[in-house]
């Protein structure tokens, strides 16, 4: 495998086997994988070198399989590994690939050439962060694809979100760690042992006393265990909210990863449950599946109708056990306002806490003029503003802020009465 050398951007020129530096290359390859998010230890590198030695110079497929068997320990890592392998050990068109990876503009992609999951993380890993132009501000491209519509006025669109870079991902995970929803504990009806408490645990006391043959009966105590309630997220992805969709999806993906019992629904003109798609461990893969599942990216919005469908089809199924509902929408409803009010009310009465996150609220002097907003206001527990919805940190901060007058939806209603 002789390579086109001379590319300054290339950190590691992979060199053909038998060149004496083959082991080095595997070592470098492992480093690339590590940067791209896999976790190959030094042992794996030794194994890989051994395996390739045992294999001899065979076909590319065998080589790929051998390295894969050693470096990929979780099924979710396979696409990232494949991409890295492809780039690192590819002899054909390497230069082209590198140029593509380094180009600041996103390359033109047609439907058939979707970016593979992990591609941007692999390119980060190969290039090093500093050599890559920042991609964070990259606009999401929207490919409009009008198809046969199910209902009049509904245009199906496909979204294409930029992929998540390795750094973005680690920052996102760190931010989510900081997320502390207010009032975020529910007493369960289970107990856990505690050094000091007031409830005697007879079973533990009995077992403990037997150590001394029943001579010493020291009471063991237990306390009620608390845990975070289930979280149900209803996120608006209609046209007016589309600029935030990407950050939501990443937020929701990391949230599903970090927290138990998270249910996620996206809605524009129709409601889509993407809980399972988001469970995919690889963020790019998860989001790709979400975009496949949702038919109406950034079309219109029918909040009332969506909530009705949710209440009827899902409400009873996911709102049990004291669920907290996070409703992310701007509340700009154009259609049936009465329906919106009834359904918001029902949602409010069937969950433990309804938190509404409204990106419009960040504007100074926000007044709930829109009829939809006014209809929803009396039925939410909290209306939180998020300073900058494009930044995940702000989103987390907004959700973690303690309950205060600022988040009380009634203040807007009071202001109105006063005026």
């Amino acid at each position: 495998m002789q390579l086109a050398g001379g590319n300054d951007g290339i950190v590691v020129p992979p060199i053909a086997a038998g060149d004496g530096r083959f082991a080095d290359n595997i070592l470098y390859f492992a480093r690339v994988l590590r940067k791209a998010g896999l976790k190959p230890g030094p042992g794996a590198v030794v194994d890989a070198i051994e395996a390739v030695d045992a294999l001899g110079i065979g076909s590319r497929v065998e080589f790929h399989a051998a390295l894969g068997a050693i470096f990929v320990k979780r099924h979710e890592d396979q696409p990232v590994f494949d991409e890295a392998f492809e780039v690192f050990w590819q002899s054909r068109d390497l230069v082209g690939k590198m140029i593509q990876l380094m180009s600041p503009r996103s390359p033109d992609r047609s439907e058939t050439q979707k970016p593979k999951a992990g591609q941007s993380r692999v390119s980060d890993a190969l290039m090093g962060q500093n050599q890559r132009p920042e991609r964070e501000e990259r606009e999401t491209e929207v490919e409009v694809d009008a198809r046969l519509t199910m209902s009049p006025g509904e245009v199906f669109r496909r979204m294409d979100f930029g992929q998540m870079s390795a750094r973005e991902l680690s920052v996102a995970r760190r931010e989510i760690e900081r997320l502390r929803l207010p009032v975020d504990t529910v007493k369960t009806r289970r107990y856990q042992p505690t050094p000091r408490g007031r409830r005697i645990d007879p079973r533990a006391s009995m077992r403990h006393s037997l150590r001394t043959g029943g001579d010493l009966m020291l009471p063991r105590v237990r306390e009620v265990r608390v845990q975070a309630p289930p979280l149900v997220v209803l996120a608006d992805i209609s046209g007016s909210m589309s600029q935030y969709s990407r950050i939501f999806l990443h937020f929701l993906h990391v949230l599903s990863e970090r927290r138990r019992r998270v249910h996620v629904f996206l809605f524009g003109t129709r409601l889509t449950n993407v809980t399972r798609q988001l469970r995919h461990r690889d963020p790019d893969e998860a989001i790709a599946r979400c975009t496949e599942a949702v038919a109406d990216w950034s079309g219109g919005t029918r909040i009332g109708e969506t909530l009705r469908v949710f209440n009827r089809q899902w409400g009873r199924r996911v709102l049990g056990q004291g669920a907290v509902v996070l409703l992310i929408t701007d509340g700009l409803e154009r259609e049936d306002i009465d329906l919106l009010e009834t359904e918001t009310d029902r949602l409010h009465r069937s969950c433990r806490r309804l938190i509404w996150l409204n990106p419009l609220l960040r504007f100074e002097g926000f007044e709930p003029r829109a009829r939809g907003v006014r209809a929803m206001l009396p039925h939410v527990d909290e209306l939180r503003s998020v300073h900058n919805l494009q930044a995940l940190g702000d989103l987390v901060a907004a959700l973690s802020a303690p309950v205060s007058r600022a988040s009380d939806p009634r203040r807007f209603l009071l202001d109105e009465r006063a005026s």
């Binding site: 009806r189 289970r190 007879p202 079973r203 199924r317 056990q321």
Partner: protein
């Protein structure tokens, strides 16, 4: 097949229908099929469906029909091993220890053996379900599983796959013959796939008009024929108008019973208005039907029955 010897009256789908029908449960063909398969394959049966469609009833009737004891585990949030599987009788154990002290027994091993013996073991439903004799395995009804939390569900996985429970001080209890397990769920939460995978799954739906009429005839003795027809047509129509909570079969039976008690022979708006509380359980739904919509439904029902007769 040894099973067919043990279950002499359930060797085909038709005989299952027959068997359930003898005990006033009119099962549709698909439900009878999964019941038959559950008996034949000795697999738990997972019944999901709206409230009041007769899920729990299946287990009760099956126990009666097969002449097995029915053991019911009513689930609720926080259900734990102590209340579902077994518990030691602590006060009695304490007494035993005091007695041993008083009589000067100092053999620890013997004391332990005494305290943690069958005498002090309180058997809860799961353990009871595992202690059936061969040929007399009980029907084990796990009702409303969705009300428990994931922890209990995970525990149940183990029980349903091996039919055995380990008690640390006592040993492993294994069922001589696996019980007939019926799990029901109202879908207030999605039950984990892993558990469903071990069961035969069936969604219990509302019955067709003909089936419902047959059920009301069977269950509500003395219900006038014309009234039954009207009730069934009315309820069937209610289920199509997108109410928040559709009336189940249990509600239809209640309604028919109520109207029979009131000596009605036919439906009229006033009667419906007065007795709607047996049928609909949400204020919004009642308000809708008491408004104009109820009238329209009733008119449609009467027209329909006229056309049919």
């Amino acid at each position: 097949m040894p099973e067919s010897a043990e279950l002499p009256r359930a060797e085909s789908i038709d005989s299952v229908i027959e068997l359930l029908s003898q005990h006033d449960y009119l099962a549709g063909r698909s439900l009878a099929t999964v019941v038959f398969l559950a008996l034949r394959m000795q697999r738990p049966l997972f019944l999901e469906g709206e409230a009041g469609v007769g899920k729990t009833e299946v287990a009760k009737v099956l126990a009666k029909a097969l002449d097995r004891p029915l053991i019911r585990l009513q689930c609720y949030e926080g259900l734990d091993v102590a209340s579902a599987v077994y518990e030691w009788n602590y006060p009695a154990q304490m007494l035993e220890i005091r007695m041993a002290e008083a009589s000067g027994v100092s053999d620890r091993g013997r004391l332990e053996g005494d305290i943690f013996s069958e005498r002090y073991l309180i058997r809860r439903p799961v353990l009871q379900a595992l202690s059936g004799e061969p040929g007399k395995a009980p029907v084990f009804l796990i009702d409303e599983l969705d009300r428990t939390d994931e922890a209990f569900e995970a525990f149940l996985l183990e029980v349903l796959s091996d039919f055995q429970v380990t008690i640390p001080e006592f040993g492993t209890v294994k069922a001589a013959e696996p019980p007939i397990v019926i799990v029901t769920s109202n879908r207030t939460r999605e039950v984990h796939d892993a558990l469903k995978r071990r069961c035969l799954y069936h969604w219990v739906d509302y019955p067709s008009a003909a089936d419902e009429l047959a059920i009301i005839r069977r269950k509500v003795a003395g219900c006038n024929e014309q009234l039954s027809r009207q009730i069934v047509a009315y309820v069937q129509r209610l289920r199509t108008i997108d109410l928040f909570k559709n009336p189940g079969i249990a509600e239809s039976i209640d309604w028919a019973t109520a109207l029979t008690e009131l000596d009605r022979l036919a439906l009229d708006p006033e009667t419906i208005g007065d007795t709607l509380g047996t049928l609909l359980k949400y204020q919004e739904d009642i308000a809708r039907i008491q408004g104009g919509e109820g009238q329209a439904v009733l008119a449609a029902v009467k027209a329909e029955l006229l056309a049919a007769s």
